[in-house]
């Protein structure tokens, strides 16, 4: 259009003849149209994800209405849907996390410190690193098989809370390792050098300089890994946790049930008792609210600690 305004017709013809440029307006318009259509189609994919999420939350929320109340949270398990509660499952999940959190944190952060601070760029470090990334992609059900053979049968822990917690901590440790590594890597080197310059030893530097700066990042990763562990079902089912456990666990050697396991068995049993679907939905809401709270805490920590050096 600009061309038409600035050149008269003869000049246009001259230009086209000389430089063999042909301005095909229709083609340009078509290309712009395709671009617009593509943009709409691409954005529809996001709308699709949004709609699925909305339907999922709405469906489960509406199914749990009337079932999710104080009594549901504090009652013991029962075969009668009206009298059933998830007290045992909540306590089971909490006790499970009390195993997972310290074990995962200790081993995961130590591994990250070793890889980032101590290990030289050697074959051993590469080996461990590849190992961790491979572990992260092993299906969770395989960790269940390992837990069943090693913790359950070999160490004779059966399907206790301890066996379940140790199995889950193996599963989520790669997440803690990788996020802690990122956090430690992000600690600027001049802080370390200042510490060494003051005569501090390596361990003192790590303990008093590196870790305090890296701790928000480490915590964020730890919380995310725990929120993964809370929702993980397959390894626990494979450990052979029984379907119906009436009593509330009191020690870490007890058999137990956890929130996701309860959801699993109730969903399977909806064929016989349709009301179980409502119980499963109510339990899912409890689980999701817990997860959202944990993620919110992780986000708050991340935002509050964003320091720039």
């Amino acid at each position: 259009m600009i061309l038409e305004q600035t050149l008269n017709k003869n000049e246009m013809k001259d230009l086209e003849r000389n430089s063999k440029v042909q301005i095909d307006k229709k083609r340009i318009e078509r290309r712009i149209l395709i671009n617009k259509i593509a943009k709409v189609i691409f954005s529809l994919s996001l709308v699709f994800a949004l709609i699925v999420l909305a339907i999922l939350l709405y469906r489960i929320g509406s199914q749990s209405i009337g079932w999710l109340n104080g009594g549901f949270l504090t009652r013991n398990l029962s075969i009668f849907p009206e009298k059933a509660g998830i007290k045992g499952a909540i306590i089971g999940s909490v006790m499970l996390m009390m195993i997972v959190i310290p074990v995962t944190f200790l081993v995961g952060v130590s591994t990250a410190i070793y890889l980032e601070e101590y290990a030289s760029k050697s074959k051993i470090q590469d080996f461990i690193r590849i190992n961790i990334s491979n572990l992260a992609s092993v299906p969770s059900v395989i960790f269940g098989l390992l837990g069943l053979a090693f913790f359950g049968r070999l160490l004779n822990l059966g399907s206790s809370i301890l066996a379940g917690g140790l199995t889950l901590s193996l599963l989520v440790r790669p997440i803690v390792v990788v996020s802690s590594q990122e956090a430690i890597k992000a600690v600027p080197n001049f802080l370390r050098e200042a510490s060494y310059g003051m005569g501090a030893s390596k361990w003192t530097t790590i303990r008093k300089v590196v870790l305090p700066v890296a701790i928000p990042g480490i915590l964020t990763g730890a919380i995310l890994s725990i929120s993964r562990a809370i929702g993980e079902t397959a390894p626990l089912v494979v450990l052979g946790i029984p379907a119906l456990i009436m009593k509330v666990p009191t020690s870490i050697m007890d058999d137990f049930t956890a929130l996701p396991i309860q959801i699993y068995y109730w969903t399977l049993d909806t064929v016989l008792t349709p009301e179980y679907a409502n119980l499963a939905a109510a339990t899912i809401i409890v689980l999701l609210v817990t997860l959202f709270l944990m993620n919110a805490i992780a986000i708050i920590i991340r935002n509050k600690s964003q320091k720039s050096y």
Binding site: S45, R59, I113, S137
Partner: protein
């Protein structure tokens, strides 16, 4: 002079008289400060500084031990299985682990796994790619700020919740469209599994696309390209290695996914290609068999580890492929 003074002064109150004496002697013998520091470091037996690296190395090696543990349990118990069941029977189509005359042909499981993964990828690849292209090339910063958390929420929902959703919502919905659909089938968990994998494919592909240097885009814009043309003809071809790797990782995720198929695709062990029917996947078999009472030491119990080994090999190979792709076709700018 000063050294002498402090030495006599400290000796009066300090039990570590000897150490200070040595120090003051050292000062008198006119060694350099550097040498003094060196001898001091040698003397100071800081135990923690020597022990800590070893403690950390031990912790780090736990991950290696875990891998070895996984491989050795799978291989040893699978070996026990194969001492009783031949490979020919293992790769046949008849599966009846709990029958009086048990049969352990696992082709139905492999078939179920491949079909459900295929359905999942047919959902996850187009939607995930479209989302990635939109997020990386079209979306404004504002849209990105809203959409990223939604994707993260979708990615963070436990798979058991997706399983419940597939069984109690998607299957009844599909039944209205396909009347012959069984209550447990492969189609519905396949679709839901695809939805679960969308965030993974989208974010990995988007990372790959964002890594394409802007100079390439600007070159194409300068030649008069539209955004769509830049995306499909410049950005996607440049980022193809990362995108392909994200697909392969998605497939590996679908193969290993357990709870969705365990709930919604049932436990039929028939060898069929009809996706409206119930089928069992490898993961579903492991879950079904262990949540029932699998007696330790039976052939059925060891069959779990044979299936687990196969599953491990499948996902391991997928990850190797993904790594090889992103290494081989990575273009350096």
């Amino acid at each position: 002079m000063r050294g002498q003074f402090s030495s006599s002064y400290v000796a009066f109150i300090n039990p570590r008289e000897k150490e200070y004496k040595e120090r003051s002697e050292m000062m008198e013998s006119k060694t350099t400060i550097r040498e003094q520091i060196r001898t001091n470091i040698g003397k100071r037996k800081n135990r923690t500084d020597q022990v800590m690296p070893k403690v950390f190395l031990m912790m780090a090696s736990i991950s290696v031990i875990t891998t070895l543990g996984i491989i050795s349990t799978l291989v040893f118990d699978a070996a026990k299985f194969f001492s009783e069941v031949s490979l020919v029977e293992f790769f046949s189509t008849e599966l009846a682990p709990l029958a009086k005359d048990p049969k352990f042909g696992i082709l139905p499981l492999i078939n179920g796994t491949i079909l459900s993964s295929l359905i999942a990828m047919m959902v996850a690849i187009p939607v995930g790619m479209a989302a990635a292209m939109y997020m990386s090339e079209f979306a404004t910063a504002k849209v990105r700020k809203i959409v990223k958390p939604i994707m993260e929420i979708l990615a963070g929902i436990p798979t058991i919740v997706y399983g419940f959703f597939a069984y109690s919502f998607v299957t009844p919905l599909l039944m209205k469209l396909i009347p012959t659909l069984e209550a447990k089938n492969v189609l519905s968990p396949g679709i839901v599994m695809g939805i679960m994998i969308i965030p993974m494919v989208a974010s990995l592909s988007e990372d790959a696309m964002s890594a394409v240097p802007n100079a390439l885009r600007e070159g194409a814009y300068g030649l008069g390209s539209t955004k769509f043309e830049v995306t499909t003809k410049v950005v996607v071809p440049s980022a193809i290695s990362g995108i392909m790797a994200s697909f392969v990782l998605g497939i590996s995720r679908a193969i290993g996914e357990t709870m969705i198929v365990a709930i919604a695709s049932g436990s039929s062990k028939n060898f069929t290609f009809d996706i409206t029917q119930s089928m069992q996947t490898m993961t579903g078999y492991i879950v079904e068999f262990t949540s029932g009472d699998a007696g330790s030491g039976t052939t059925g119990y060891y069959s779990l580890y044979a299936v687990g080994l196969l599953l491990f090999i499948f996902t391991f190979v997928m990850n190797l492929i993904a790594r090889a792709i992103s290494k081989k076709f990575r273009e350096e700018y």
